[in-house]
């Protein structure tokens, strides 16, 4: 007690001296003075969801602890699937690997499928946005095709590719390409006439126009499309992997269901949710960096 009281006494006498000297020599407040507001911002954004999560977990625990409950309570999930939660990157053989590895494998498929969809989608969208005839011809077809559910493409792609991995990638591609095409086309159609006039006076060729005017001008729209697309592809990969097998996170869920490991499924769901959230934020962050200048005119 006495030691604590002594330190408390020392602090107020030392503090004014320190702050006075800092204020006298620097004009701008140094970064350590911003620690307070940052801590407050973290508290504002982290504490409420944390509280809600604890309430939900408690409710869940109460509801699923009764005799005859069909689903496991959180405590059981923690006990039975502790390996999966605590060690995402263990590797005990071909089918006995951590969820981190499985997520990475699924992400790799998404990267291929979504990457292809992003490039193809932007190019096709640019053509549709530029040419009134391409729009008239292709738009009705796209409007019909984009309503086809992702998994409906799977049998067809299995037949075409004769292999599960390219089929899964194709399903990702075909799922995520539509919002990219449609948003890019809208963005290109909305390029202000002023910018087109500038390009005309400068005699920019198609190639230069695409990179110097079209892409930057339509970037906010394109990134809206990409953000919807990455969300859809993460939805589709889990479903596709359930059917095609392999080592992805989707197949893990199916496998766990077949061997009645319900706690594992719950952990996998949490993984999928968190990764999907991170993917969305990632695309949105890239979008804000890239389109910094394009919105304010």
């Amino acid at each position: 007690m006495s030691a604590l009281a002594r330190t408390e006494k020392i602090v107020p006498t030392a503090m004014p001296k320190k702050s006075a000297s800092v204020l006298a020599f620097s004009r701008k407040p140094s970064s350590r003075f911003r620690a307070g507001p940052i801590a407050a911002a973290i508290a504002r954004n982290v504490v409420p969801p944390l509280v809600v999560m604890i309430i939900i977990l408690a409710l869940w625990q109460i509801l699923c602890s009764e005799v005859g409950a069909t689903l496991p309570p959180p405590s059981q999930v923690w006990q039975e699937s502790y390996d999966l939660i605590a060690y995402p990157f263990f590797n005990y053989g071909s089918q006995d690997i951590g969820l981190g590895w499985r997520v990475l494998i699924s992400l790799q498929r998404v990267a291929y499928g979504f990457g292809l969809a992003a490039v193809a989608g932007v190019l096709i969208g640019a053509v549709i946005g530029q040419s009134i005839w391409a729009m008239r011809g292709l738009d009705p077809i796209f409007q019909v095709l984009r309503t086809v559910p992702p998994l409906a493409w799977l049998p067809l792609s299995l037949a075409a590719f004769q292999d599960s991995n390219p089929s899964a990638i194709f399903v990702i591609f075909i799922t995520s390409i539509w919002p990219v095409i449609i948003n890019t086309a809208v963005g290109v159609r909305n390029i202000p006439q002023d910018y087109r006039n500038v390009a005309k006076v400068l005699c920019l060729n198609q190639f230069e126009f695409f990179f110097k005017i079209m892409l930057p001008s339509a970037a906010p729209y394109i990134f809206t499309g990409l953000r919807i697309g990455i969300g859809l592809s993460w939805l589709a990969i889990v479903a596709a992997e359930m059917l095609t097998g392999g080592v992805g996170i989707g197949f893990f869920i199916w496998d766990a269901w077949n061997s009645s490991r319900l706690p594992d499924i719950i952990v996998a769901l949490a993984y999928i949710g968190v990764v999907g959230f991170i993917l969305d934020k990632l695309v949105s962050a890239v979008g804000t960096i890239v389109t910094r200048g394009a919105c304010a005119s």
């Binding site: 002023d194 006039n197 005699c203 394009a294």
Partner: protein, 265 residues
């Protein structure tokens, strides 16, 4: 006069759904090298359309635009345009906006260092070198238009087309920019064609003022010579007899002979 730019019997009409709208009819105009010509008229008389025809942004329906006796019917950097709303690309900095034009027009003939010097020379000309790394959204409206002028001048155009370049600016900024344009015209001797709806601006800047009648099917009602010595000073001119006479002539044309009829479609 030595014909540098010639508008030869130009007609322009727009067609939409079988309906034909006559905009310009039988426009004949000759502009000499180094001349500053303004086109003035009420709004909707087709003066912007006329500038777009010269720029090649819209095709003529009939007749031809001749620059140094050669027909021009597509846009090109030798007829650089200063747009009304500056039209700078917001994702590029001031420097990059000018450099886009310079590297496109001189990319093959000048080295990188020469291109850089040329961009800076033009930014210096409009006194915008200090803001070269700012984005258009970070500078004022007058500064944006200065950069727009620098971009157009950097193309070394044979004729500079100004489409109501100061229309969106406040009166004080407008006066500053008018002075800047007059100084550039005096120093470089460019041929300039300016669209305006400001009588004072037209008299102050121009060697000749082309006055358009009201649309539809507008034509050149009258051409007024402004025989005042350069450099011109706006304060001295305020009481100059020639200035007042020219101003009166334009006002009479616009408000007596060709009054703007609000009800006309």
């Amino acid at each position: 006069m030595n014909a540098y730019l010639k508008l030869d019997h130009i007609d322009k009409h727009f067609e939409r759904g079988g309906q034909r709208a006559e905009v310009l009819k039988d426009i004949n105009l000759t502009i000499g090298k180094g001349e500053f010509v303004s086109i003035i008229g009420h709004s909707g008389c087709g003066k912007s359309t006329l500038l777009n025809l010269v720029a090649g942004l819209t095709p003529v329906s009939c007749g031809a635009v001749l620059l140094e006796n050669r027909e021009v019917n597509a846009p090109g950097p030798e007829r650089a345009v200063v747009f009304q709303n500056h039209s700078l690309l917001p994702w590029l900095t001031v420097y990059e906006n000018v450099n886009l034009a310079v590297s496109k027009v001189f990319g093959r003939t000048k080295s990188k260092a020469e291109c850089h010097d040329w961009v800076m020379a033009n930014l210096d000309l409009v006194q915008m070198a200090h803001a070269k790394d700012k984005r258009p959204s970070e500078v004022s409206g007058g500064m944006k238009q200065r950069v727009g002028i620098a971009r157009a001048l950097a193309m070394e155009p044979k004729i500079l087309l100004l489409d109501e370049p100061f229309g969106a600016l406040d009166a004080l900024t407008r006066a500053h920019l008018q002075d800047a344009v007059m100084e550039i015209h005096l120093r470089l001797g460019n041929t300039m064609l300016m669209i305006t709806h400001d009588v004072d601006e037209a008299v102050l800047l121009s060697d000749r003022i082309v006055m358009m009648t009201n649309g539809p099917a507008a034509f050149i009602g009258d051409v007024l010579d402004v025989p005042m010595a350069r450099p011109r000073n706006r304060i001295e001119l305020a009481s100059d007899r020639m200035y007042l006479k020219c101003r009166e002539a334009v006002l009479k044309f616009l408000y007596e002979r060709h009054r703007f009829v609000e009800a006309a479609e």
